[in-house]
Symmetry: C2
Subunit: 294 residues, 2 copies
């Protein structure tokens, strides 16, 4: 068997992004943590960490991290049926897209966690980066728009999130007094989340606008809504997130009747144990209540 | 005079994070943009970009970017008094902390932009990174908790944002049925924004808890609120952002009467022209309405 004391130190240094914080978390001195990492490297004959302001895993380090996280999941699985083993805490690292964490996912997760206590470490990422983190074993699950499975994982289709092109009424009146003609639409400032966000481009393309258009950039979902509410631009927003603002008329459609559906999939480690299976099943059911079915 | 066609190409490649996108924005071919960057480097005898998936500025590139952004601000300043010069669009890049973009700042900015049209590029960053971006000339303004001025900038104190330790009532009942004793508080799961977020630690330290405590990690302000609302943990939240949830009783205080105030400052380039001065003055007034005064 491998020496899990050493692997636990590695996992803690990477998870807590530093030797000092890892030591505090493990209840050890910083030098003890450092010794364990050095011993691990001496045994393997290769470095597991790149030391810097924030320590990062080498390729070897990542593979060990992947392994120790899977072992931790299996251990915690065992603890569920043998509560006397409790003491080690269950920990789940998930890559998730910004719009899911801002809408239905926390509620669904909260229900599951009543019977499956654990701590969550959520990494807010776009799909490509999220899946890459799965491939590297940095996260145990990923919620994203890609159906493409990563080796060693299962993929569960959840449903589609509906986006509408929305703006504040005064803003629309100011920029599109004659309604949404392509000429005026192309001059109306949009908000985009970041340079990877193509939702506004796809909406405009539907109306024949494929060139550049004025836009603001804001990679915060709540900031995005606030900028739209302040009459700074229009943007594609999940219906789920702004239901109240649509009901009250504080947000209205740029182009009535238009919407765009983005599919969502749950990826998770196949060897993560029964409770990752149970979680997938639970999320599938919860998503069914709130997302547009496939 | 320098050749601003070349500098504009550099600025576009960095701003749009790629040659193709920069070309689309400038209405040029990708090869024309590439030629301009090469010519710039040939004249200077040094690279201005590190080519990679996403091009990054070299030190020299950053200094040029800083310069061209200041020139752009001054030009747009001039355009305000000489509207016949219009055509170049005013562009403002700002580093801002997540809680400000999610609360009062967009409304204040929307009011200012009625008379000062511009496009915004918002970089959501913690204070240290935000100020470092100012130092490198990557952003023209920064809203953060540090009063420490960067060379060549002005600093305007805005006020303090009040945070309260909040949770969902069922959650509190489950974890703290006897009230907030230090023993029970130390066992109650918290949500933290990221590894730099010390607000929850500072709150617990007030009650004598300085060791590790169970916590989830979620670097999304909206996700943070949703996790608390789902009964997954407690967290420090800006009063401003959750006023409705406090009124309706959907969120309640972990420790009644406890709060923590975080100061906020607006940093901006001294040579950014009159309209950056006017913006600072406007934000100072707007902040006065919503933040706790110094």
């Amino acid at each position: 068997m491998m020496d899990y004391k050493l692997l636990e130190a590695l996992s803690a240094v990477l998870h807590h992004q530093g030797f000092e914080r890892a030591a505090r978390h493990l209840g050890l001195t910083q030098s003890a943590v450092s010794q364990r990492i050095k011993l691990l490297e001496a045994r393997l004959g290769q470095p597991v960490l790149v030391r810097g302001n924030t320590p990062e895993a080498t390729d070897l380090g990542r593979r060990l991290l992947n392994h120790v996280q899977q072992v931790q999941l299996l251990e915690e699985e065992l603890t569920l049926s043998l509560p006397q083993l409790a003491g080690t805490e269950r920990h789940l690292r998930v890559a998730i897209n910004a719009d899911s964490i801002s809408t239905w996912w926390p509620q669904a997760m909260g229900e599951f966690m009543r019977d499956h206590p654990m701590t969550l470490d959520l990494v807010i990422e776009d799909q490509d980066v999220g899946l890459q983190r799965m491939r590297h074993g940095e996260v145990a699950a990923c919620l994203c728009a890609s159906a493409q499975p990563v080796q060693g994982t299962r993929v569960v289709p959840l449903g589609r999130m509906r986006y509408r092109a929305l703006a504040q009424p005064d803003f629309l009146h100011r920029y599109l007094p004659q309604g949404p003609s392509p000429e005026d639409l192309a001059r109306t400032p949009a908000i985009i989340f970041d340079h990877n966000d193509q939702l506004q481009h796809r909406c405009l393309a539907e109306f024949g606008i494929t060139g550049p258009f004025p836009h603001h950039i804001c990679a915060s979902t709540e900031g995005f809504i606030q900028l739209v509410m302040a009459g700074i631009g229009w943007g594609m927003m999940p219906e789920l997130q702004v239901a109240d603002l649509l009901d009250s008329g504080e947000l209205i459609d740029l182009v009535p009747g238009y919407h765009l559906d983005v599919p969502l999939y749950w990826h998770y480690w196949r060897l993560g144990g029964e409770s990752l299976d149970a979680l997938a099943h639970h999320l599938e059911k919860a998503a069914n209540q709130v997302l547009v079915p496939f």
